[in-house]
């Protein structure tokens, strides 16, 4: 288990991340300049934080108060860089064996041999990194980190230097290799897709702080506040006021079907929206969000069966490979909320004969509406 909370200051940037994470892959996800790589450098011991502590599987790697700062090579932390950072003057074998200094010659040779087999590079032991393909280099870099059996593996944007096809192939390869490694992996990435694909857990970082961490779907579906929601692609963020429970008697937009019993509601530009899940006390001013792929397009004959149905028109569409990004403007007072972004499959787009200017109904499923906490320190 990796557990840290520290503070590091450099050139006016204050890095103060705190995270507790378990075995398996955790994505450290955030935009450029969020402090991702600097966090890795602190974890690995190449930068010394001013305050705080870093613990790994019960070992203290750093503790400012106790004056503990374990040097990088004693931390049992592996580091794999973007573009791999292989030693160009050493062969594949030399690269893999680099961290095996304390072992006897035969033991080191056995380990290197086993790693070469695992990486499917038996024939390349005597090759130099310059003679390998991108995928082979990546495997060597991963092998060099894993061969010393670290407790923590840090992957610093390992795929961002590659083209799309190569990236997908290498992600698959890494996913294949990682389960054999029983430790904790921290994958630094600025790609939400990559975070989703590779990691079971996710930590969203921005401005030097971890904004939210937890199981991947929990973070994606239930972002804590507006900043996290924006980062994880829950791009429909609106404001409303929590409704009194007593008022929610089927009180749903446009007099459509009753909401689920026990559901609370939000008053949204004069309309009532059913929301499942717990809500703050009635009268509270709240922000809430829904992911674009969670907005439902409703067939006209099914309108009466659905809660939270809104009528409006499609203002624009962008085809993005296999799906469409649509923008929808509601009729009436909800138009003040701004456009609603919707992602829908190419198939559904075809079936509903969608095109900009079309009138249509959409539904915001009560269980997909998620109330956000107020951003700390934000103005009212």
């Amino acid at each position: 288990m990796l557990d840290f909370s520290f503070e590091y200051q450099v050139d006016g940037f204050r890095l103060a991340p705190a995270l507790t994470t378990e075995r398996g892959v955790t994505a450290l996800y955030g935009p450029s300049g969020a402090g991702k790589s600097l966090t890795l450098l602190c974890l690995v011991g190449l930068r010394r934080p001013r305050q705080g502590w870093i613990r790994l599987n019960g070992r203290t790697l750093f503790d400012a108060t106790a004056g503990i700062h374990v040097p990088p090579h004693r931390r049992r932390v592996g580091l794999v860089f973007q573009e791999y950072a292989l030693f160009p003057h050493l062969t594949v074998t030399g690269n893999l064996a680099y961290g095996l200094q304390g072992l006897s010659r035969t033991e080191a040779r056995d380990r290197v041999g086993a790693m070469l087999r695992l990486l499917r590079l038996e024939a390349f032991g005597a090759h130099y990194p310059g003679e390998l393909s991108g995928g082979q280099r990546q495997r060597v870099a991963l092998g060099r980190g894993l061969i010393v059996q670290p407790d923590l593996l840090l992957l610093d944007e390992p795929f961002s230097a590659l083209d799309q096809m190569e990236r997908e192939r290498l992600r698959a390869e890494v996913l294949e290799l990682l389960p054999g490694f029983g430790g904790t992996t921290l994958l630094v990435t600025h790609s939400l897709q990559e975070a989703y694909l590779m990691a079971g857990r996710m930590a969203v970082i921005d401005g030097g702080r971890i904004l939210q961490a937890g199981p991947r779907d929990e973070v994606l579906r239930h972002p804590r506040d507006r900043r996290v929601a924006e980062h994880v692609g829950a791009s429909n963020i609106f404001r409303g006021v929590v409704l009194n429970q007593a008022d929610v008697q089927g009180g749903i937009i446009r007099g459509t079907a009753a909401g689920e019993s026990g559901a609370g509601g939000i008053v949204w530009h004069g309309e009532r929206l059913a929301v499942s899940g717990t809500l703050p006390p009635p009268g509270t001013d709240v922000e809430f969000c829904i992911r674009p792929e969670d907005v439902r397009l409703v067939w006209p004959e099914r309108v009466s069966e659905r809660p939270n149905v809104i009528r409006g028109c499609l203002t624009s569409e962008v085809k993005r490979g296999v799906d469409y990004q649509l923008r929808f403007r509601a009729e009436g007072s909800i138009a003040q909320a701004g456009d609603i972004e919707i992602h829908c499959s190419e198939h559904l787009h075809y079936l509903m004969k969608l095109q900009p200017g079309n009138q249509l109904w959409i539904a915001l499923p009560p269980d997909k509406l998620h109330v956000l906490a107020r951003v700390e320190g934000a103005p009212d």
């Binding site: 860089f81 030693f87 003057h89 961290g99 200094q101």
Partner: protein, 216 residues
Amino acid sequence: MDLFPILLSIRVATLSTILAGLFGIALAWLLARKRFPGWTLLEAVVVLPLILPPTVVGFYLLMLLGRSGPLGAILETAGLEIVFTWRAAVVAATVASLPLVVKAAQAAFEAVDPRLEAAARTLRPAASVFLTVTLPLAWRGILAGYILAFARGMGEFGITLMLAGSIPGRTQTLPLAIYDAVQVNDLAQANALAIITIAIVSLLLFVLGRLPRVRL
């Protein structure tokens, strides 16, 4: 023909290359990899001998290392006499060639990807990383600096004259001997010494051009 100036110059250039090499590597690494208060000042001071007239550098070294100079007095009580001995020629050549080593090695260190060192540091102690990753990747640039330093040591004239004088058989190096020969109109002697100098420097350039490249 008197071989003394040739042997002295080779000795002086060898020793000054070793000294400038050791100090130069340390300074270059500091300048390439660390940021600290006084960094700019240090980088400027290091190149001073390259910019200032040799006589100026020689004059201040004389003030520093002479019998009444602050460092010279200490060294004299320790029984080490510098000024107007062959050691002064070594000091002169070291000071003159230090900037060449530092500049070449600094560029070489800066060309080493810091991520290679970072990856290496997670696997081995810092000293081992320096010896097994940083140096092997920078050695070609560093060696080029050494060869320039050796050539500078062979050719040093101004600082040497100020600090060591030109005492035949004691401190007269190859360039000083050539100058002396010309002064007394012994052109054959000057020519012979000049050709030997050219031969030695040419050999060095040849070696420099043949250094193997590191595969990247």
